[in-house]
């Protein structure tokens, strides 16, 4: 199911189709980069949580 955020904004109308596509590629790349960082970083962050608290944090994250 597409996320609401997958509805990318339309590029400015004045751009030709090639440039509009290029701008959209950059926007998608920024979104993918953020998603990658979030997924990788939350897992990595667990190493820094004291053992006794990890279960509570996992439950709070819904994991």
């Amino acid at each position: 199911m597409p996320r609401p955020a997958d509805h990318l904004p339309d590029p400015p109308a004045l751009l030709d189709s090639e440039r509009a596509a290029e701008l959209t590629v950059h926007t998608k790349a920024a979104l993918r980069r953020q998603r990658r960082e979030l997924a990788a970083s939350v897992d990595k962050a667990f190493k820094h949580i004291p053992w006794p608290l990890r279960g509570a944090v996992r439950r709070a994250l819904g994991a």
Partner: protein
């Protein structure tokens, strides 16, 4: 300010938001009216901030379970500046400020460069002034003038004056060019002072910032421009 100059300023902000290698990556958008570029940038900001909002909110909520220094360690060594910036506005402001006290200045500068201060106003305005100064100097050293331009509207006069004193003429000119809310530029340059403003304008060409200097001059008020003309007249 010419339409092309306005578009160039907006292109610089959009390039920064998209994480591109400098505004030269988007020279083809200079033909687009600045208002349309601004609309596109706002829409992309919404997209980035709303994405994975549920997970980010749960992460911010889970932060209540952990001490501030542990959160700071997690932030700086695991989550990184981008994710921490997204989380900043989701935390209780006092808690966010407390956590920030455990971050290194370099990390805070990187985080601030990713932050939309409008989404964390209470955090930004609650930061101690001396900490803000340190962050500003670090951001300027990293060339993050576009990001710095977003914060000016949220700084009190004392902190702003402190930052102006610490930053170079080139920094001030670059920030002025990409300032969010340029209607405030003349107020900012009251704090800079006439003599330094003249020095900035005189030195602009040698810094390769002639267009930026013209833009600054256009945004000064009539009284300031008159005073500058008088100084130039001797």
């Amino acid at each position: 300010m010419s339409a092309a100059t306005e578009s160039r300023a907006e292109a610089a902000k959009l390039a920064r938001l998209l994480g591109l290698d400098g505004p030269e990556s988007l020279t083809y958008v200079h033909q687009v009216p600045a208002s349309e570029l601004r609309d596109y940038r706002e829409a992309v900001t919404e997209l980035l901030y709303d994405d994975d909002q549920a997970l980010l909110q749960r992460t911010a909520d889970a932060a209540r379970l952990l001490p501030a220094h542990t959160l700071a360690t997690m932030g700086e060594h695991a989550l990184g500046p981008l994710i921490c910036a997204r989380l900043t506005g989701l935390l209780d402001p006092d808690r966010a400020v407390e956590i920030s006290g455990h971050f290194s200045i370099d990390f805070l500068a990187q985080l601030s460069a990713e932050l939309d201060p409008r989404r964390a106003v209470d955090v930004v305005t609650s930061m101690p002034g001396d900490r803000v100064l340190e962050i500003a100097v670090a951001m300027a050293a990293a060339g993050e003038h576009v990001a710095m331009g977003r914060f000016v509207a949220h700084l009190d006069e004392g902190t702003l004056a402190g930052c102006i004193e610490e930053l170079t003429d080139e920094d001030l000119l670059r920030i002025a060019f990409v300032l969010e809310g340029k209607e405030r530029l003349d107020e900012v340059f009251e704090l800079v002072g006439l003599e330094r403003t003249q020095r900035i304008l005189d030195g602009a060409e040698s810094m390769g910032l002639g267009e930026e200097a013209l833009d600054l001059r256009d945004h000064l008020n009539a009284r300031q421009r008159k005073q500058l003309r008088r100084r130039a007249g001797g």
